[in-house]
């Protein structure tokens, strides 16, 4: 996979333990290894307590491995002097929009990260304009962040990261507190960023969001237990349900229809594919779905 391309993030045999009461250790990650390549769209899934959030916090050095290494463009997250550069390459957006905005206007909030990086003033302005434009918040640049909706707040938080021009954006359950519309807004922005070449790593419980990714990493008990495309992963419904996960509604519907109509493709994962499949069969598509 991606032969010839140099990985953007290398996670090499990473283990992590939380220390409680001085000598009692709770292992959270166990010997995890994987690479993230430039421009990839990867979803990390797993149940509450599986270690996926802990893992995502390793990707830009918020947490450091107890054993093993994480390299971002070759820079080791254990080296303190490299952290600033690492975080310019890999930005992170978290679950709660209210905990991420600090300034009194939207544009000041986006500017905040840049102010500490020594970017010249005029470039700062153009980057802020660009970032707000990408997330569709240009019109609201003078508004107070705390009066925005949850989806709008998350878009501002993402703009703050985009302004730093990172190579990778990590979303740690960034849509879990948003309503359907807010979530769709964010997914659109993410899709656009990825189309423009930014690597995306999303940690989520929403299986319809997972379906958007190129590759899925499934975490259970601090180990990677499954990896593949969304379509491959969602064929393992029993396995996923056994580790407290699920498949998108479109997959469940496709499976049921397939039982009655063997020609109906059971490997569907997107809503729009259901409609296309119905049309295909009606156009005389007596052929096998394969």
């Amino acid at each position: 996979m991606m032969i010839g391309k140099k990985p953007l993030i290398q996670v090499e045999d990473v283990s992590f333990q939380y220390l409680v009461n001085k000598d009692e250790k709770i292992p959270v990650l166990k010997n995890i290894s994987f690479n993230i390549y430039p421009g990839e769209y990867v979803a990390i899934i797993g149940h509450n307590g599986s270690g996926k959030s802990t893992l995502s916090k390793h990707l830009n050095g918020i947490l450091k491995p107890s054993q093993g290494e994480v390299l971002v463009n070759g820079m080791n997250t254990k080296e303190k002097r490299l952290l600033k550069r690492i975080r310019q390459e890999v930005g992170m957006v978290f679950q709660n929009p209210d905990n991420q905005l600090i300034a009194t206007t939207v544009e000041d909030d986006v500017a905040f990260g840049l102010e500490n990086t020594g970017v010249p003033m005029d470039e700062m302005e153009s980057r802020i304009r660009f970032a707000l434009d990408v997330v569709g918040m240009s019109e609201m640049s003078k508004r107070a962040p705390h009066h925005l909706s949850g989806g709008q707040k998350q878009r501002v938080a993402i703009a703050g990261i985009i302004a730093m021009m990172p190579k990778c954006l990590v979303l740690d359950e960034a849509t879990s507190m948003l309503d359907t519309y807010g979530r769709k807004d964010i997914l659109k922005v993410i899709r656009k960023l990825n189309d423009d070449g930014m690597a995306i790593i999303t940690v989520t419980h929403h299986m319809s969001e997972v379906a958007e990714a190129d590759r899925v990493i499934v975490i259970e008990g601090g180990n990677i237990v499954l990896q593949g495309t969304p379509r491959e992963i969602f064929q393992k419904k029993a396995f996923l349900q056994n580790i407290q996960l699920d498949v998108p509604a479109a997959s469940r519907i496709a499976e049921l229809v397939h039982h009655n109509h063997a020609n109906f493709n059971p490997e569907i994962i997107h809503s729009y594919e259901i409609v296309n499949e119905v049309k295909r069969l009606l156009k005389g598509g007596e052929n096998e779905w394969r």
């Binding site: 149940h47 509450n48 989806g151 507190m177 309503d179 996960l245 519907i253």
Partner: protein, 298 residues
């Protein structure tokens, strides 16, 4: 079954920072009638007033204008026993697990009943009942430390803490946000059981429409501080125009039905469960197969 309203909201209004430049009207003309034993969902955008509204249900906020009547009693009545009101109406906030403060699970759940001054035996019975209701085995879990629990388990502990006060109305703000699919369905089934078996009236805020269709007898849609429509989930979700006008969005399964409709197929938008959608698609395919078998071109 004779329906008796357990909660009535009449023309409720709330303005934050009134008479200041930052004045913000959070609620206006809110009207709701909720009957004993119902399971009610409140949906609407961030900022539509949902969280402000539910704080009026147990007297955390009192009406600036309008009336809130709980079980026949006006919350503005000066003689109302506010402690009794708060026991009657249990409020579970968003991410309640962040409010656990005792070291052991059992102690955390016992805190409320102890503060009520109940005899120790009764406290113990209530803690046991509450823990079993949320699916935490009493003997096994009561002496476990709260910090070593997963997110889903912590949320169960927080819910048990409110249940131990034996409320008649349980109000939950986004009860499953951030939980994985299995923890989500487990918690929802627990809440459903409280509703069906213990006849506790449930009112919950949610932006997860799958969850709303799974749980609610009726739902209220809030927008710009007022309730604009209410009805059964199938009434609301089969009304495409209302959904669109108010940016409500649809459960994934309803979305699939509407995509089929847009493509020219006739569908019944009330049959939106996974099975219902699959059956409708199978019938469409079946119908066209028969048509073709009879030699009629499609």
């Amino acid at each position: 079954m004779a329906m008796k309203p357990i909660l009535e909201i009449r023309d409720l209004e709330h303005v934050y920072m009134k008479n200041t430049p930052l004045e913000h009207r959070a609620l206006s003309n809110v009207n709701m009638t909720i009957n004993k034993g119902e399971c009610i969902a409140i949906i609407g955008h961030t900022g539509s007033g949902k969280s402000t509204l539910i704080q009026h249900f147990n007297g955390l906020m009192t009406p600036q204008k309008g009336t809130v009547i709980v079980d026949g009693e006006d919350v503005l009545n000066s003689k109302i026993d506010i402690k009794a009101l708060r026991r009657k109406v249990g409020l579970v906030f968003q991410n309640p697990e962040s409010q656990l403060f005792e070291r052991l699970i059992g102690d955390d759940i016992a805190y409320g009943p102890l503060k009520m001054g109940l005899p120790i035996k009764e406290v113990r019975d209530r803690v046991e009942w509450a823990m079993e209701m949320v699916g935490l085995p009493f003997d096994e879990m009561k002496d476990r430390p709260t910090y070593a629990l997963s997110g889903g388990q912590k949320r169960k502990v927080a819910l048990a803490g409110v249940l131990a006060l034996q409320p008649e109305i349980l109000v939950l703000d986004e009860p499953t946000a951030g939980l994985d699919p299995r923890s989500k369905i487990e918690l929802l089934d627990r809440i459903k059981k409280l509703n069906r078996k213990e006849n506790i009236t449930i009112i919950f805020i949610s932006h997860n429409l799958e969850e709303v269709t799974y749980m609610a007898d009726r739902l209220y849609v809030m927008a710009n501080g007022t309730n604009i429509i209410d009805g059964t989930p199938s009434e609301i979700f089969s009304n495409k125009n209302i959904l669109k006008e108010n940016n409500i969005g649809t459960p994934e399964t309803v979305e699939i039905l509407y995509l089929l409709q847009d493509a020219g197929f006739s569908i019944d938008s009330r049959q939106y469960e996974v099975d219902g959608v699959a059956n409708q698609i199978s019938s469409i395919l079946q119908y066209f197969q028969e048509v073709r078998a009879n030699g009629i071109s499609v």
